[in-house]
Symmetry: C2
Subunit: 437 residues, 2 copies
C-alpha cells in the first residue's frame, strides 16, 4: 500500500506545499470540486497543493497525464466525481502517482502546470459528488456510552451495539459544503413534565464531529462486498458535521430513528483525502478480549492488521462575540478515529451484507467520534453532560448547546513518525437564527 | 379542483379506455417512463390510456400540444420526470387538459396520435424520476397499534404517534419498479433466548402495503411548506411495497431505526396518478375528539375538508405453487388510504417544517396502510399476529411470512358515485432465494 507517493522526503515546486504544518503537502493530494469564488466558471475537479488548487481540467488539457492517469483526470475534470469514483482504485492510484511526479521539485511539467494553479483563497467549493444515498453510522462506543448514560444510567449501551455497526439512512438534499449557514430548526419538543408538545425553535442545538466516507466503486443489488475487498470500494474520507437538534430528536426518535432532528443541515469538508493517501496512518484494530468478537463477515486479517486509521480530529467553536472581538475560535475537543469501535471497512461490509447496493458518490458518516475520556467527546451534549455542566470558553462565555451566530469548525490530520503530516482542511458551519426570530 | 377532465361521461377514441373496470379510462391519465420491452429505445414519458401507452415524446413531436401543455410535454418526453415535476401544478394541469381533449372521442388529433400508441403488453417501465431522497412515514394508527401490540401489549402506541407524523429516511438505490425480483436478505438475527446473534438468511420476510408520494415543486432549505400549500408540492401517487425483514429489524432497530431490514429492496408501481386526477376521491379528514388535535402547522381548513383520499388498496400473493398450477394470485387484504391517521399533506408539511428541503422527484412512503379491522392489515406480521396464526390461502397453503418464490402484488383504485373508476395498475415484486441457497 505504501509507495513512492508517501515518501516523506518529497518536496514540491509549489513552495507553500513545503511549509511545515501545511494540510496539503505533496504527499496528500486530496480532491475537491471548485471554481473561482463568485465566478460563473464551470465547477471542475482540483487537487490541493500547499495554498493552491491545481485545476484538473486545465492540467488535463495540457496533456500532463497519460494512460490510466489521463482517463482518471478526464473524469476528475467534471463537475462531480461520480465518474472518477466509479473507475475504482487502479485509476485513482495512477492519477495520484502522475500528480505526485508532476508536482515534485524538478518535474518537467512544472512550467505548464504552474499556469493551472488557482490560489485557495480565491476558490469556492461545492459538494463534490452527486450523492445517491447518505448513511450515518454510530460507530464510537464512547459516544454511544456517553449518550446512553444520559437516558439509561445503569445500562447505557444497547445490547446490539457490540455486534452491529449501527447505521441509519440520512438526508441528502440538505448536505452542504464547508461554509454552510443554516437556520436553527423549529419542530416539536416535549419539555419534561409537560403533557403536550410545543412547536418551538430548537433549544438544544448541537454539532457532531464525524468522518465522512466517500464510496468509490459500487456493488450490484444482492451482491455484498466481502470484508477483504472493502478498500476497493472506498474512494476517500472527509470531515462531516451532523448537526443535531437534541430536543426534537428526544421526542421524535421512537421507534424509527432521528428525522427532523438531523435533516435540516449536514456540513462536509470540500477536500476528499483518498484512502491511498491515508495508507501510512492505518493501524491495527482490536477490541477488548471480554467484548464479543466480530461475526465472520466483519472480521479478517486486514481488519486486525490495519483496519483502524489514526486520523486526529478536532472541533472548534467561534462565537459571534469571538468574531466581533477578534479573539478567534477555541478548541472544544480532540480525539482520533482510531478509537472507533467499528472500522470504516466494517461499516461498508455491514451496509452491503443484506444485498443493499452502494453506488459511486454515496456518502457514509462514521457517527460522532468521541475518545475514551469525556473531554475527548465529539458533541456538546456529551461535553456538557446533557446540558447540566456548561462548557467554559476562554473568553468568559460558556455553552451547554449552540447559540445563534456560533460557527463550529472541524479539523482533521494524520501524522506518523517517518511520514509527512497531511490534513483535511476545515469543515465550517454557522448557526443562523430561526425563521421569524 | 374538479374540472372537465373528471367528467364521468367522457369517452376516448382508444376503445379499451372505455371498457368497464379498466384502470386507465380517459379520466385517469397517469404518467410513467417506458420503452418497448427488450428494446434499446430511449426511456421516455408516456400516459396510460386503456391498454395502451401514449408516447409523449412522439405525441409532442406531432405538435399536438401548445403553450404550457407543450412545455410540460417537452419535459415529459425525457427519461425522468424531474423536470416535469419541477414545473409545478399549473403546467401539469395544462398537459392533463390537453391530453384529455386530444384523447376524447371525436378529437381532431386522433389520427396523428393513434400512431403514438404503444400497447402496454409490449412496454417495459423504469423508476420514473431520479429520486434525490426517499422518506418513509408510519401514518396508519391501525398498523402502528397492531405492530406495537406485539412488542408492548399494554401500551402499543408510542406517546408521540398522535402528535407527529413519524417518518424516517430510506434507501434510494434499491428502489425498483414493478417486476422487481430480489434475493432474500441475510443479516444478523437474535433468536429468542439466545445470547449471541446468528448470521442467517431472513426467516421473517414481509411486505408492506403503502402508497408512494412523488414530490413535485420543491422548497428551499430553511423555508418550510405551509400546510395550506402542500397540494402544490405533490405531483402524484403510486403504490409502494416496503419489503421488510422483521427478524433483522427487531435486532438492529434500537436506537436509530430500521436499516438492513429495509434497504435490500423497495418496489413501486410505474404509473404516477396525479393529484389532479385524484381530486374527486378526496374526502373529509378528522380524528376522534378524544385524540389530540393536530398542532397548527399540521391543521387547517383544507386538511379538514378534503385532506383524506379514498384510495382503495389491496395486497395479493402469488406463490410458486399458484403459478405452477395456474390457480393464480389470491387476495390477502383490502383497505383504504382514507383510514390513514395522517394525511399526505400533513406528511409533506411536517417533513419540511424544520427547514428540510424537498426536491422534485423525491419519494415519500405513507407507511403500511392497515384498516380498522385486523383482516384489513397491510402486512403479514399483522395478519399472522407476529407469526403465531398462519394465514390460510385458498389452495391449501398457508403463510406466516413470505417464502421463496412468492410474488406480492399491490393494487389500488378510486371510485365514487358520479365519477369514473380510476386505477393504479399493479406493483409486483418477487422473492428469490438468498444467495448461496
Amino acid at each position: 500500500m505504501i509507495n513512492e507517493t508517501h515518501d516523506a522526503g518529497l518536496r514540491s515546486w509549489v513552495a507553500s506545499a513545503n511549509t511545515p504544518g501545511t494540510d496539503f503537502p505533496v504527499q496528500n493530494l486530496p480532491f475537491a470540486v471548485f471554481r473561482r469564488r463568485g465566478s460563473a466558471e464551470a465547477w471542475r475537479g482540483g487537487v490541493a497543493i500547499g495554498d493552491q488548487v491545481l485545476d484538473l481540467a486545465a492540467a488535463h488539457a495540457t496533456g500532463a497525464f497519460a494512460g490510466e492517469a489521463a482517463v482518471a483526470a478526464a473524469h476528475a475534470s467534471a463537475a462531480t466525481f461520480n465518474g472518477l469514483m466509479a473507475l475504482g482504485p487502479r485509476y485513482g492510484s495512477a492519477l495520484r502517482l502522475a500528480l505526485s511526479r508532476a508536482l515534485r521539485e524538478g518535474a518537467a511539467q512544472a512550467g505548464s502546470l504552474a499556469a493551472c494553479l488557482v490560489p485557495q483563497r480565491e476558490a469556492e467549493y461545492t459538494v463534490p459528488a452527486r450523492i445517491g444515498d447518505y448513511t450515518d453510522f454510530y460507530a464510537s462506543v464512547h459516544h454511544a456510552t456517553n449518550i446512553g448514560r444520559l437516558f439509561r444510567p445503569d445500562n447505557p449501551l444497547m445490547p446490539n451495539f457490540k455486534w452491529i455497526p449501527i447505521g441509519y439512512h440520512g438526508r441528502v438534499s440538505s448536505i452542504g459544503v464547508s461554509g454552510q449557514r443554516f437556520r436553527r430548526p423549529k419542530g416539536q419538543i416535549m419539555p419534561p413534565g409537560e403533557s403536550a408538545p410545543l412547536f418551538s425553535a430548537c433549544r438544544r442545538l448541537d454539532y457532531e464531529l464525524e468522518v465522512g466516507i466517500w464510496v468509490g466503486q459500487g456493488n450490484a443489488l444482492g451482491e455484498p462486498i466481502p470484508i477483504d475487498r472493502v478498500d476497493e470500494h472506498v474512494f476517500g474520507l472527509c470531515l462531516l458535521n451532523d448537526w443535531s437538534a437534541r430536543d426534537i430528536q428526544a421526542w421524535e426518535y421512537q421507534p424509527l430513528g432521528p428525522f427532523l432532528a438531523k435533516n435540516f443541515a449536514t456540513t462536509i469538508s470540500p477536500w476528499i483525502v483518498t484512502l491511498e493517501a491515508l495508507a501510512p496512518y492505518r493501524t491495527a484494530w482490536s477490541r477488548p478480549a471480554e467484548d464479543p468478537q466480530p461475526l465472520a463477515y466483519l472480521d479478517g486479517e486486514g481488519v486486525r492488521k490495519h483496519g483502524a486509521i489514526d486520523l486526529q480530529l478536532e472541533a472548534w467553536i467561534e462565537s459571534a462575540k469571538m468574531r466581533a472581538d477578534g479573539s478567534g475560535a477555541c478548541r472544544l475537543s480532540h480525539t482520533s478515529l482510531r478509537h472507533s469501535y467499528w472500522t470504516v471497512g466494517q461499516m461498508v461490509a455491514h451496509h452491503s451484507v443484506g444485498g443493499c447496493n452502494l453506488q459511486p458518490g454515496d456518502l457514509l458518516g462514521t457517527g460522532t467520534q468521541s475518545g475514551p475520556s469525556l473531554d475527548e467527546a465529539g458533541a456538546l451534549i456529551e461535553l456538557s453532560a446533557g446540558g447540566k455542566n456548561p462548557v467554559s470558553l476562554p473568553n468568559g462565555e460558556n455553552r451547554t448547546f449552540l447559540e445563534d451566530g456560533d460557527a463550529v469548525i472541524l479539523r482533521g490530520w494524520c501524522e506518523r513518525k517517518g511520514f509527512a503530516r497531511i490534513g483535511f482542511g476545515e469543515c465550517r458551519g454557522e448557526v443562523l437564527p430561526a425563521s421569524g426570530d
